[in-house]
């Protein structure tokens, strides 16, 4: 049986192109399978047959519209093909079956919404006309992350192609990708359990206590679906900065805010009392193995 491959259009708005380069860094077998399974008709950095004008003017519907970057109506700060990203997005959205925000800028406004001198920078959800959103067959899918993991894009597209729908959490993210925390699967978990503090430049210790790690408060599968197939920030020693959540980027991202030595924020869904009781107990035991270097 030969069925027509679903079409994919990638629209780049106010962005650094980081999600594009994340996609290009996908596992090459997976990327090729994606190219063979979908008809990727437009991406500003990659395709050659069609221009953005062609896509804006075409009458055929787009199966999957992927948007990278945040949106603004202000043409003084941002003009693309003579128009605002806001107007382009609405034109494209009107003829799309599924709309997917790729990255935290498209999902929440992200880094670019911190440019307060242009105060209308927003997410695609806020920019797309309400009537268009109401008529969509499926809620907008938010693939958050700065950048998004390429596998999160591919798995979402393949799932929607096979089932027509995907379960979303309350902020529009696929539950299966964002249901667990960045903390889950982190190789430093044992140090977290026994409250062994870490430092930069070391394989040992947990980055939650001083370095600002947001792993226990951040929904993502960074430590389950590894980055570039091999690692994650927390595994190598960089704290999670919570880039999949709507409050990214926050202030003082590389340190832990504390009150009298106690982290201001405790792991998600755990009461401060419960956290302090467990921590207090854990700290009374000095586990020699966890205070030694992994390799002397």
């Amino acid at each position: 049986m030969i069925t027509k491959k679903p079409t994919v259009v990638w629209f780049t708005a106010i962005s650094c192109n980081g999600n594009t380069h994340s996609l290009l860094s996908a596992n090459s077998n997976r990327f090729e399978l994606f190219l063979n399974s979908f008809d990727f008709i437009y991406h500003p950095s990659l395709t050659i047959d069609k221009s953005l004008e062609d896509i804006l003017n075409q009458e055929e519907r787009i199966d999957f519209l992927l948007i990278e970057g945040s949106i603004s109506l202000n043409k003084e700060f941002f003009t693309l093909c003579e128009d605002s990203t806001f107007n382009h997005l609405n034109k494209l959205a009107l003829k799309s079956n599924y709309i997917i925000a790729v990255g935290s800028c498209a999902s929440y406004g992200g880094v670019h919404s911190k440019f307060i001198q242009n105060d209308d920078i927003c997410s695609i959800n806020k920019a797309i006309n309400e009537d268009i959103i109401k008529n969509l067959k499926h809620n907008i899918v938010n693939l958050t992350g700065c950048p998004v993991h390429p596998e999160w894009i591919l798995q979402t597209l393949f799932t929607l192609k096979a089932y027509g729908k995907i379960a979303l959490d309350e902020v529009g993210r696929p539950k299966e990708l964002y249901g667990s925390l960045a903390h889950h699967g982190c190789t430093r978990n044992e140090y977290f359990e026994w409250k062994v503090e870490g430092n930069f430049g070391q394989r040992e210790g947990c980055l939650f206590y001083d370095q600002g790690c947001r792993g226990p408060m951040t929904h993502s599968s960074c430590n389950k679906i590894l980055w570039n197939d091999i690692s994650s920030k927390t595994r190598v020693g960089m704290p999670c900065i919570g880039c999949t959540e709507s409050d990214f980027p926050r202030n003082d991202m590389l340190e832990t805010k504390k009150n009298i030595g106690i982290p201001h924020e405790v792991p998600l869904g755990i009461s401060k009392r419960a956290y302090l009781s467990i921590s207090g107990v854990a700290k009374t035991f000095k586990i020699d193995r966890l205070h030694k270097k992994l390799m002397e």
Partner: protein
């Protein structure tokens, strides 16, 4: 006048206006119409947060921004008399990470951004080079994604890691990690030998004569043949003046003007906004047409990037090509690929120099938050050329942050009566196709140009 919107296959978007006379471009103007205000965003932020923000200026060269930021912040310590000790291991791991990102970018630029346009001068059938479909295009994606794994071993991920921090780096790779990094680089080395140049890497690196271009095979031979068929060795010439600010093992910090090499004086670097839009509407006028500033050294334009680096570091093969074909499209593309070869060899070597017994990080005794007033300067050689970050701190917060990207040097607008580097290169081209290739030859990154 003919205007084209260059939305496709550059980093971001640009608008090229050409005025014609006698079937040649007599004047050219490049507009970058998008502005994200990173320098404004950074005002009032904690200094260390800049390490998270600045890589997000650009998805393709974020590690260069990270390195410039960390060095600007470390320069603050130096300027208040508390210079930090950074171990050789940390310095190496920073340079290695940046090099890997440049390798990834050069490969993608050649196959995804410039070759399709050059082949199209000759045939509409792109064959193995067809985006998303052709075997060679797919191989380039594969090699880029394999190579960047070497960076993920020390950065945790790419794009957008912030693994460098004042005092060193956050990671602590093992011996096996370093071997894996070399393994991933080997994929790119094999690709260079089998598909890009058709020449063994060591043989390629021994090229020192213009006649060596006849030894090139595979894609570089195809590129060379097309270049000569369509006169790309004659088009795209600009001021023929070069600057390279960053200091590393690879690149000498110098400028080169008609073969006289002088020491750089950073106070002679000047940013200009005469043609640049302002965020204050009332300051805008008809002269202003782009969000890019222009930057000059001692009141003159200089070109930055792989060609500039090859000239100031006296790389013989490129110097001979340059002597024959000046700063043409052909020379610029060759210098980018030549740099790729050089970086593959050098980075492989740098990895073996890492002594894992050294510290990765030495915690600074003083927090940047406890500094009342200080300035810092960081400069590095990024993929597209010299990158400069200037930061001022007041009462522990960023008071101002200034970024001068390589693409501002190359793609910025006119200054006084001098045309910008790329503008001048485009003037004299015989068709919009060639004009576009000339513009592309600078490796256009609009997101960096305006930031």
């Amino acid at each position: 006048m003919k205007t084209i919107d260059l939305v496709e296959r550059i980093e971001g978007e640009a608008k090229l206006h050409c005025t014609w006379s006698n079937k040649k471009v007599s004047d050219a103007r490049i507009d970058f119409l998008n502005f994200r205000g990173f320098e404004y965003i950074l005002e009032g932020k904690s200094p260390l947060d800049a390490l998270v923000y600045t890589p997000r200026i650009c998805g393709i060269c974020g590690q260069a921004h990270l390195k410039a930021t960390v060095e600007a912040l470390e320069n603050i310590y130096e300027n208040i008399g508390q210079k930090l000790e950074i171990t050789k291991k940390a310095k190496l791991l920073r340079q290695i990470g940046l090099n890997i990102e440049i390798i990834d970018s050069h490969i993608k630029w050649f196959y995804m951004f410039i070759m399709p346009d050059i082949i199209k001068l000759d045939t509409q059938d792109l064959g193995i080079y067809t985006p998303l479909k052709g075997a060679r295009w797919l191989e380039a994606q594969k090699v880029a994604s394999e190579t960047i794994k070497a960076l993920a071993i020390i950065g945790g991920q790419w794009p957008h890691t912030s693994y460098m921090i004042p005092g060193g780096v956050m990671c602590d790779p093992t011996k096996l990690d370093l071997i894996m990094m070399q393994n991933y680089l080997q994929t790119a080395i094999s690709f260079f030998e089998k598909s890009i140049s058709g020449v063994n890497l060591e043989d390629y690196l021994s090229f020192d004569n213009i006649n060596d271009i006849d030894k090139l095979d595979c894609d570089l031979k195809y590129f060379k043949d097309l270049s000569f068929k369509y006169s790309l060795e004659k088009y795209g010439k600009s001021y023929n003046r070069f600057i390279s600010l960053g200091e590393s093992k690879l690149f000498k910090n110098e400028k080169n003007r008609q073969k006289i090499v002088n020491k750089l004086d950073f106070s002679k670097i000047n940013e200009n906004s005469n043609h640049t839009f302002s965020i204050n509407k009332e300051e805008n006028n008809s002269k202003k047409h782009t969000w890019s500033k222009s930057v000059t050294y001692n009141e003159q334009f200089y070109e930055t990037g792989p060609l500039a680096r090859a000239i100031v570091s006296n790389k013989k093969f490129i110097k001979h090509i340059h002597e024959n074909f000046d700063d043409s499209v052909f020379t610029i593309v060759m210098s980018r690929i030549d740099e790729l070869a050089f970086l593959l060899f050098e980075t492989h070597k740098l990895i073996s120099l890492v002594d894992i017994s050294e510290n990765s990080y030495i915690k600074p005794k003083l927090s940047l938050k406890d500094i009342s007033f200080a300035d810092g300067l960081g400069f590095t050689e990024a993929c597209r050329g010299s990158l400069l970050h200037k930061v001022s701190i007041e009462n522990g917060k960023i008071k101002s942050y200034d970024v001068i990207t390589p693409t501002v040097w190359n793609l910025g607008p006119q200054y006084k009566n001098q045309k910008g580097v790329a503008q001048k290169a485009i003037i004299g081209t015989p068709s919009i196709e060639i004009a576009t290739i000339v513009l592309r030859s600078f490796d256009v990154c609009s997101v960096c140009t305006t930031h």
